[in-house]
Assembly symmetry: C3
Homo-oligomer: 204 residues x 3
Amino acid sequence: MLIVVYLIAITVEAMSGALAAGRRNMDIFGVAVIAFVTALGGGTIRDLVLGHFPIRWTQHPEYIVLVISAGLLTTVIARYMHHLKRVFLVLDAMGLIAFSLIGCSVALAMDYSIIVAIMAGMMTGICGGMLRDVLCNQVPLVLRRELYASVSLVVCVLFIGLRELGIDTDLNTALSFAGGLTLRLLAIWGGWKLPTFSYQQRWD
Amino acid sequence: MLIVVYLIAITVEAMSGALAAGRRNMDIFGVAVIAFVTALGGGTIRDLVLGHFPIRWTQHPEYIVLVISAGLLTTVIARYMHHLKRVFLVLDAMGLIAFSLIGCSVALAMDYSIIVAIMAGMMTGICGGMLRDVLCNQVPLVLRRELYASVSLVVCVLFIGLRELGIDTDLNTALSFAGGLTLRLLAIWGGWKLPTFSYQQRWD
Amino acid sequence: MLIVVYLIAITVEAMSGALAAGRRNMDIFGVAVIAFVTALGGGTIRDLVLGHFPIRWTQHPEYIVLVISAGLLTTVIARYMHHLKRVFLVLDAMGLIAFSLIGCSVALAMDYSIIVAIMAGMMTGICGGMLRDVLCNQVPLVLRRELYASVSLVVCVLFIGLRELGIDTDLNTALSFAGGLTLRLLAIWGGWKLPTFSYQQRWD
């Protein structure tokens, strides 16, 4: 089940990357690059940091084809996509959570400590979007937007907590997934934000 | 032969990095850093993603010395360099192609699949320039410029296609090189560009 | 001794990251991310490039807790911090030097060549700040500021030179530390800068 959600997730992330590339007037090659980086960059950074070789996508050519196709398709259907805004937000939330759970699992399977597993889950969830924004020359959205990265944190903590309690992995995945999705949708619906830290003082 | 072209390539890339640093008024240390990252960053990212340790340049101190020297030399001769614009563009094209071919070969020697080899070639070819632009706080040029990254793709596909046909590696390298160089020079000459994707709609 | 300085160093770097995040009005999650990346990003890049797995911080959960706590604490005490500017600058200088010495040592322990050890020291010293600035969408300060990255270079060269002369490691560390700190403080005090390279010519 998580695999299906994962495939939907990288597709949706690729599309969000393609739209960001379009906002910078990139050519279609740039669109493909940003789509790829947005969808698979988070997992790549996780695998690098955990020393988990070979990197996951290098063993799954179908992921590469999928995300690049999704990116290029987006250039054609972009004009109609805002009608699907709500569907898109839900799929994006599901992707964020799937990424986080997969990241946690990879780290735990490699016997990393709990805190590193949480970091790995969050890296998988948010680094793709951070790379997208850096390549599009803007401050990463995930560091400023309404509860997004925090959802990833909550999902990872919930998953690891239930695991420590000895809950069966499948049930645990389902519960963490449902909990994270509920939180994210509530956050979108209510416009929940974390407090912001503003600091304008110059020391020089 | 490819080694000589490679050394020219990293020199030229280092110089392009130094000029980009100059546009941002960096100090000479910054110039050295950007020269290094532009010239050797693409190969570094390729080696990281393929899990190819030790990273190539760590075994070749002479590359480090070469690219930093080229970067610093550029600060002295920059004012005369625009006279050499055409030479520079040709050398840059040769470098892009050499990088791509080397990247492909490294991945194939590690038994990665064809599609990963193509990705590795492109990463080697374009990631150095992307890192340069990110560090200089601009949207990567390679994602917007006239046929550049696409030349890398064509070269990789050509090289791997001929290899599948059983063509001898030396001949294959020469043919792919010539094909890529022709395409790149035609693209510069004709100002060929890929179609651009513009998307200005905000969803919020 | 170097461990204590190292812990102070990552705390100070985390705080500088948090202030940079505050200048971009990030939420507290973003503050934690930037604090983490600034403090531990340099060592991460060094470990990746050297192929030194597992990455150091993944084995030290206390580092993760420390830097994130320091980042979050900064949001509370930021308004008083400019009174401590001088203390902060000295601690920051000590951190830069500790990072550089640790980076050198890691590379030497892995039998990398001298020039790679120098690069490793500098990567540890300056890459955290570079990542911080890239994520905050500005040209890295270390590439433009008064003698900073160069201090890292001097420390690495000094440390390796004394090591080649057969000086005992503890004495060597103390001497390199003192030398680097003196240089950095003199540079701040005198406003020493490297010459800048400005290049505004467009070729297009």
